[in-house]
């Protein structure tokens, strides 16, 4: 890493320039942002309804029913369109809508439908738990080992400074499971099951949040895996499978985008002491070094909830995310000026880098200066 280290004065000047970009965006907020989020929500709701209809419309064409309209191609077309559409609707609800609203990006509208205090998303994690673990812990203490529990989600070894343990040999398997059940991983994130395992917290302390998460999970899974399938009567398993595929699509996609945001090689992690007496400029600097962007087109950015602009999201978590693309141009200019690295790359290379890390860190450190402790 041959980046220049900035002195206090340069850091302060850098902080002021980043601040100016933020202030301009905040002062421009208005009808454009309100119309944008309303349009996305309207599209998402419409897509969710029509996808569910498509799944049910496929059923009469199933040849095993022996109806006159029986046709495999029509059945597969409708059921696939429904599953994929529902998957996309869930991605939009969780990422571009839910994640960004719960960040408070649209609180200024004064409309409870778009307010962080009131919005709930179509996933297993209760939104107020997310607001704590994500908005507060992860966004304040980004990539500080021991403070930001997003590093490895309490399951994976994602940083060389995490002590190695033989269980981490299964790092790639754990990562795959987390990817497939990412909704559950997120739902249990703030419950801190790992603290229960290590004895840091008692079951009594853990139970209230766990109960809340399980209740929300029951509502969401109950809808997708019991209620909607039950409407299909004997074809219960078909609807359940279609809904499961939709959830799987959402899980794999959101895992991919989120892991590409903080875990590609070159992204920095920090020791605990950095956040003591940290200045605004230094905080911005840490956010920049701890995040990575993914390049892509407009549709890709929307589908990623604009988390493809992870750097801008970490600098400006409460600015409406659809503005990140235009803000990124200005941020990059400022970074160039101060010689600060700006980590960006296409999805495939960032993702390959993440998986390489997952495999590499499954193994013990080569020069065994780090002791093996449980």
């Amino acid at each position: 890493m041959n980046q220049k280290t900035l002195n206090a004065e340069q850091l302060a000047a850098f902080g002021d320039e980043i601040d100016a970009i933020k202030q301009q965006a905040l002062s421009e907020r208005g009808a454009r942002d309100a119309n944008y989020i309303k349009r996305v929500v309207a599209f998402q709701r419409g897509l969710a309804i029509s996808s569910r209809i498509s799944i049910f419309a496929a059923l009469p064409f199933l040849p095993s029913l022996g109806l006159a309209v029986a046709s495999w191609p029509v059945f597969w077309l409708l059921i696939c369109a429904g599953s994929i559409g529902l998957g996309i609707a869930k991605i939009l609800d969780n990422m571009e809508i839910g994640h960004n609203i719960i960040h408070g990006q649209y609180d200024w509208m004064g409309d409870p439908r778009f307010h962080s205090k009131f919005y709930d998303w179509d996933t297993n994690c209760p939104s107020e738990q997310w607001a704590h673990s994500h908005n507060y812990e992860h966004h304040t203490y980004t990539n500080i080992l021991g403070k930001d529990r997003d590093i490895g989600y309490g399951i994976l070894r994602m940083d060389a400074a995490q002590y190695w343990h033989p269980a981490y040999l299964a790092n790639p398997i754990f990562a795959t499971l987390l990817m497939l059940f990412f909704d559950m991983g997120v739902a249990l994130h703030d419950v801190e099951m790992d603290s229960l395992r290590t004895g840091k917290r008692s079951f009594r302390e853990t139970w209230p949040k766990l109960k809340q998460s399980l209740r929300k999970t029951a509502r969401i899974w109950g809808k997708d895996f019991i209620l909607f399938p039950a409407l299909a009567g004997p074809l219960f398993p078909v609807v359940m499978a279609a809904n499961a595929v939709a959830n799987l699509i959402r899980n794999i996609w959101s895992f991919t985008i989120i892991f590409c945001g903080h875990f590609p090689a070159e992204v920095h992690t920090f020791p605990k002491h950095v956040c003591e007496n940290e200045t605004q400029g230094h905080w911005y600097y840490r956010q920049l070094l701890g995040s990575a962007n993914i390049e892509g087109g407009k549709l890709f950015h929307i589908m990623s909830g604009n988390l493809s602009h992870q750097i801008e999201h970490h600098l400006f978590p409460d600015v409406p995310a659809h503005r990140y693309a235009e803000m990124a141009l200005k941020v990059r200019k400022v970074c160039n000026k101060y010689g600060i690295p700006y980590n960006t790359g296409p999805l495939w290379s960032q993702y390959a880098s993440v998986w390489a890390k997952i495999f590499k860190l499954a193994l013990p450190p080569r020069n065994s200066q780090t002791s093996i402790t449980a």
């Binding site: 454009r32 309100a34 200024w108 509208m109 004064g110």
Partner: protein, 381 residues
């Protein structure tokens, strides 16, 4: 006897808004899907969509707006108010307005005076068109008529304070109630007098309704020889107009009375009733949070916003304004302590309730818009 029409929530709303259908639409609820198809199908009874069906200019600086809300709207009592939510440049602004027409009408109506400093009242007076859609709350407030209507009633109103009083008088007379009703009504001058014709017409039609208009501006011709602001002489004159009232006054008893208008009027009437020993007979409705009773102690301390990890030096204003100026976006509504939208958890510190003067300490929920910090205060914002 009921002085209000009650309509049930429409049938299809009750069928659609059931636990099973909402469970299928979890976690948003079915209403959030319906309103995407047609905004008037919303099932939200905190923001009831309402079309503007008629706008009538009352005076140079006031309009009456007739609303046609969807089936979530059920009924109201004369004297109550609604919160009006209007979106301007992406932001929702909320204000409270009294309903100004008989409770027997299905279409509620508000009357709005264009105040110089009122962004929303100006918008409603100048920009709003028939056919526009706004959102309203259900009717709220306890400035209403009693279930047992007494034989005599006195109303005192000034300026736009006439609006809830107009609804009550309208309702009473439409119900053909024979109580003796007197209205003592203050306006700046004849041209700024809201509902002048309607009130005069009612006074002519109903012998049990007597009207006493007073103009505070010197150049306006005084009726009944009265002028200026409320005083004891005005009160006695109003009572003498009506035989039922005169008898009561002789027995040193005042009738059930309602006052609505600016703070000075309410304070003047209140102290007069206190003097006469009849404070319990007076109901009042303020259109603005009481601001006169400013805290006289030293302005000190810091306000800490726990969730956003920031704090500001207390400048003595209400906590809502200070939070907004600190760049936070707390939910807010009426800004006068009525709607509880800005209710927020205070984790520590002492605050003073601006409208009652009451001081409270420690962890509690407070309404930011009417709370003033006394020293260090921590808020869960």
């Amino acid at each position: 006897m009921s002085l209000a029409t009650t309509t049930a929530r429409s049938a299809w709303r009750r069928i659609v808004d059931t636990p099973l259908i909402n469970a299928l639409a979890a976690p948003h609820g079915i209403g959030r899907y319906l309103e995407v198809i047609n905004p008037m199908w919303s099932l939200d009874n905190t923001r009831i969509p309402a079309r503007i069906t008629n706008i009538t200019r009352e005076t140079d600086d006031s309009v009456s707006i007739e609303l046609s809300p969807n089936g979530e709207w059920t009924h109201f009592q004369a004297g109550q108010f609604i919160q009006v939510h209007i979106e301007v440049n992406g932001r929702q602004h909320n204000r409270c307005y009294s309903l100004s027409r008989s409770a027997f009408t299905t279409k509620p109506r508000i009357t709005v005076k264009d105040h110089d400093d009122g962004f929303i009242s100006h918008y409603l007076n100048t920009q709003l068109k028939v056919g526009d859609r706004i959102a309203i709350s259900l009717a709220q407030g306890d400035f209403v008529l009693p279930t047992q209507i007494p034989s005599a009633l006195l109303f005192v109103a000034a300026g736009s304070g006439i609006t809830p009083v107009m609804a009550m008088i309208d309702t009473l007379l439409e119900y053909k109630h024979d109580s003796a009703i007197t209205l003592l009504y203050y306006s700046r001058n004849k041209t700024s007098c809201i509902f002048k014709e309607r009130l005069e017409e009612l006074a002519q039609q109903h012998p049990n309704f007597s009207l006493l208009m007073v103009y505070s501006q010197n150049d306006s011709t005084a009726e009944h020889g009265l002028q200026g602001h409320f005083n004891q002489q005005h009160l006695l004159k109003a009572l003498s107009l009506n035989p039922a009232l005169t008898e009561q006054t002789k027995a040193l008893s005042l009738p059930l009375s309602y006052v609505c208008g600016p703070e000075q009027l309410i304070n003047a009437v209140q102290s007069e009733y206190e003097l006469l020993g009849h404070k319990d007979k007076l109901l009042s409705e303020r259109f603005k949070a009481a601001t006169a009773a400013q805290y006289e102690g030293e302005v000190a301390g810091d306000i800490a916003f726990n969730k956003s990890l920031s704090n500001v030096a207390n400048d003595g204003r209400n906590l809502l304004e200070q939070a907004e100026d600190a760049g936070l976006n707390p939910q807010s509504g009426c800004r006068m302590g009525i709607c509880h939208t800005c209710s927020c958890l205070k984790t520590s510190g002492s605050v003073r309730n601006i409208s009652t003067g009451e001081i409270s300490h420690g962890e509690e929920h407070i309404r930011l818009c009417i709370s003033q910090a006394l020293g260090d205060v921590s808020l869960s914002l």
